[in-house]
Subunit: 230 residues, 2 copies
DNA sequence: TTCGCTTACGTGGTCCGTAACAATG
DNA sequence: CATTGTTACGGACCACGTAAGCGAA
């Protein structure tokens, strides 16, 4: 038994399918199938129930899954513990920013850190809001400036600013001359909204449009894959 | 990182030397050295302090060692848990008997189990005494009727019966007519004793013959590979 | 000089990817 | 008939073993 088998098995269990698990693992599906079979042969228990059209965990597989996850996290924790002990015992403060918003907060934050904790390493990370929240909950980031992600009860959010929603138009657009635009004016326009990598902001915009009585269907949207403030 | 790396590292840490660890692992010393180095490269921490003449664990190595041991035991526990869940499913009482002695105790034991634990699966295993003791100490058997094996401090033995030593003869043998036979009468006979798979009984017989002043050498024995009461 | 770890290098096992096959909805 | 998992097979990589190198006792 090797950690590879456990990684593969966990991926299969979480994906519920050999095919998609193989894609997630960036390997081929037959190879994955073979590795799972080898694992089953070694521990002498059938972990997956095969039905030629789909797979499902057996009772033994469910019992094994918890242990496999624990083994993988423990192995990673061991490496992390070794790094923490071996590497300098120098305290390091990791800070996260929304991509494109670094200049909004970083100068002031760095100055405060320099004043209050002069003998500290500062690590900066720029990510999308969900990745920042993930880093916070995993302890990889000590503090971050991000949006209020839902489903993260272990995180404490404190509002710092309210951001106005803006519409950006070509200079020669029919609405460009106006001082203010009401949601109704946008009906019929090709609407470029933010990508799904910023779900909170996306939700705010969608809710605002919905409250205004508009029904911007997906047909009116163009999803952009990367959103950066100019 | 693979479990192989962890197994190797634990072996090296316990042996305190690459050479003897390689012998214990049945692999070559250069290969082991390379694997340890790969592990160090992957987690980015030097685990062993090399002094060209001997090695010792670094601080990071000591921190990693505990986790590595935990990972290995957890992996093994996962396999064992899967087997326990998959195979029995019901509470299962495993009972062991000496081969050939099942009928002596099984009926009464089964009746007691049926009365006190009606909703339980009973598993019966017939083995030689050492294998039964091994199964008991590994938790594969809950209780067994066997001989008092030595070197098993984790087992509790309770005497149930004393078995007389018997000599079995052909009906036309010169000693067959006697009511009792003294050890001295056996001198010169071709002696069929029990196999080495029953070391305790064998020891009892040998000691008895020795106390009687006899010297039944191996030349007078024929080792039988299987012993069963007729 | 010897012992113990490292480096170099050729070989074999095995893991992987492509392809063909089987089965089920 | 298309999708999903299995079997077959050729290739590449990596771990292993042998041999040579290096440094300290």
């Amino acid at each position: 038994m090797e950690l590879r088998h456990l990684r593969y098995f966990v991926a299969v269990a979480e994906a519920g399918s050999l095919t998609v698990a193989a894609q997630n693992l960036h390997t081929s599906q037959p190879s994955l199938s073979r590795q799972i079979r080898d694992l089953e042969d070694e521990i002498g228990v059938q972990l997956l129930g095969r039905s030629a059209r789909r797979i499902e965990l057996t009772a033994g597989g469910r019992a094994f899954l918890d242990h496999a996850r624990a083994v993988l996290t423990q192995a990673e924790a061991g490496a992390e513990a070794a790094r923490r002990v071996a590497h300098p015992a120098k305290p390091c403060f990791a800070m996260g920013f929304l991509t494109g918003h670094e200049l909004t907060w970083m100068p002031e934050a760095l100055q405060i850190l320099r004043d209050e904790l002069p003998n500290i390493d500062v690590m900066i990370s720029s990510q999308y809001s969900p990745l920042l929240a993930d880093g916070l909950s995993k302890g990889k980031i000590d503090a971050a400036f991000l949006r209020r992600e839902r489903g993260m009860p272990e995180l404490a959010f404190r509002p710092l600013v309210k951001e106005p929603l803006m519409v950006i138009l070509p200079i020669d657009h029919r609405l460009a001359a106006r001082k203010a635009i009401s949601p109704g004016d946008l009906v019929g326009e090709t609407f470029v909204t933010v990508s799904a990598t910023a779900p909170v902001l996306r939700l705010v915009i969608d809710n605002y449009l919905k409250r205004s009585g508009l029904n911007i269907t997906p047909a009116h949207e163009r999803i952009i894959s990367r959103w950066e403030c100019p």
